[in-house]
Symmetry: C2
Subunit: 352 residues, 2 copies
């Protein structure tokens, strides 16, 4: 009995927690007062309220650390929001852990949320030895606190940022990560692990409409390249009126940075809903026209990517017609990844 | 103003609702008192309480109908449960609509739940003409009522069951549909649309442990073939003690029906959690031993399928290490579907 009790105690050992602020914060767009916000909106007072609220979401942020612990736990708090119907609570307000294995980042476990403050052991029973870890934060909620827990006596140290350069991605809910099943499957996160580059997530669910104050904010961000995936949220009229200002303002502040524009992905329910189908077609025709106009006007290093296979041919790549599921994201990346790689390499950006 | 008001009224037209019980119920395992339960558990009093509760979930049920309406709406109620962290509310307690297009079932829209009783327009703005529809019910909740809404004056009629034969599938949460993003992506549902056969969902999340009363219940079900995907929930010891009774009892009641056994899929966190990794290995070694023993004892028409590529090589195929996401399900079916088709064809079961 004594032995059994000892074993149980050993397994249920209380983790020793350290604030994640003492480790390495990856994917950060700009310094902020609240460490897990993406942008300090007080610096940009004219942006729309919806944009300001979304910039408090911790999408794209991750903590890099190394430990010799055989378990990794976390305690974290998020705002009182709960997941929307087309997302899991894990992707919305949970955590996602990757560990380096054979030179590659490999999924290791999730942090399942349970209310606004949660404690969870993401992985246990690991072998001895040091592990390099990357812990993705919630995509759709504000993370108000985060502590990493390891076994008593184990090491826990910051790991240098594993990603090079800065590729700023501005876009819609799809970029922010709806509807991946967990934070690490958001497509900027997958791109970072695939290429070794730091793809920064400025996904603004439903609110990527290229407003002038947002364009000014984007142009103020330090980056080596810019990706614009904002067509799904912008009406054809908005695309017509706003694309040139956004591209030209970025170009003015970043004379040499390539700008990559992604057309809207398919909306699968648009196969039956004729209004939706026609809108996506009009959006994509309009962005093509605007990009061509800019190229003719002499803007250099501007690219419109293509999306020929959409999310596959079986129409199973979305959760709700609009937002890719993990299958749709995988098919999307099969098309976009080679285009990203080829263009970035032209600018002496080393791509894995 | 009057014109605008008229247009608004026309778009917001109240649907005319009909109880789904007047249409065709697809995927039904046995007749039940509550129409959206899978089995009347009062007929099998000795089954474990968890199994009884899960049999009230509407997993695998769908409504087949035809309509010339340009919109399809639904009103439905489920139990007070809410989605677990590794599932969307859509898959847990929402609806999923497919419409026949060019001879194939194609995703058309979802019913987003909003509390215990919801009303939602799944698709609108469709063209004129008759559509054949298949509406999947919630996978993880009890559906207590369901009405289908069409535009005033539109037709709404039962559609003959589009699927042939009856393939009874008994298994774990993965079979029940965790963690597909919506009900129509559960793997038995995908198999039905792919093959034209009626794969019946007897997924019992966490509770597919081959208990004797459950084995007796399964053997009592009318079916042309049986698929057993219960290894993930059963300990190696349970597999050793219970597999023979389950298989022999089915064989006794169904002398000629093929029995297909699926080994456990990978648990991706088992790459790091050595206990989990060892358990899956032991489960799969045990089921192989039991199937081989049964074959040696003279049981005919018994098959152990294989799962060589698991959920892919990038380890991104699960939401939480255990439950496939839509990417994992797709990879799983790429391996299992040809095996299902080849075996079923041997038994003169016509497969699309």
């Amino acid at each position: 009995m004594l032995f059994a009790a000892t074993v149980t105690f050993s397994h249920a050992q209380t983790p020793v927690y350290t604030s994640a602020t003492e480790l390495t914060l990856v994917g950060k767009i700009q310094a902020t007062q609240q460490v897990y916000h993406r942008i300090d909106t007080t610096d940009y007072p004219d942006m729309p309220p919806a944009v300001k609220r979304l910039l408090t979401n911790s999408a794209g942020l991750a903590i890099a650390f190394k430990t010799n612990s055989t378990t990794v736990s976390a305690k974290w708090c998020t705002s009182p929001r709960t997941a929307s119907a087309n997302m899991t609570a894990i992707v919305y307000e949970g955590l996602d852990l990757y560990i380096k294995k054979d030179g590659r980042w490999q999924f290791a476990g999730v942090g399942m949320p349970n209310g606004d403050c949660s404690e969870y052991t993401l992985v246990r029973n690991m072998g001895e030895g040091e592990k390099e870890c990357l812990l993705y934060l919630p995509l759709y909620d504000e993370t108000t606190s985060l502590e990493i827990g390891v076994a008593e006596g184990a090491t826990l140290q910051p790991l240098p940022d594993p990603f090079r350069k800065r590729i700023l991605m501005y876009g819609s809910s799809i970029l922010q990560g709806a509807s991946a099943s967990r934070p690490g499957i958001a497509y900027p996160a997958r791109l970072s692990r695939d290429t070794g580059l730091n793809f920064l997530n400025l996904g603004l669910s439903g609110s990527a409409k290229m407003e002038k104050p947002v364009a000014d904010m984007i142009a103020s961000i330090s980056a080596d390249a810019f990706v614009l995936d904002c067509v799904p949220n912008s009406s054809p009229q908005e695309i017509k009126e706003r694309t040139a200002y956004l591209v030209n303002t970025i170009r003015q502040h970043h004379p040499k940075a390539p700008i990559l524009v992604i057309p809207s992905t398919v909306r699968e329910h648009g196969a039956f809903d004729q209004v939706v189908g026609a809108r996506v077609k009009a959006q994509n025709e309009q962005i093509e026209e605007e990009v061509n106009k800019l190229l003719r006007s002499g803007v250099k290093d501007l690219y419109l990517l293509s999306y020929r296979q959409q999310l596959g041919t079986d129409h199973e790549g979305t959760v709700d017609g609009t937002h890719p599921n993990d299958l749709g994201f995988d098919r999307m990346l099969q098309q976009l990844r080679p285009q990203f790689k080829a263009i970035l390499r032209k600018y002496n950006i080393k791509v894995d």
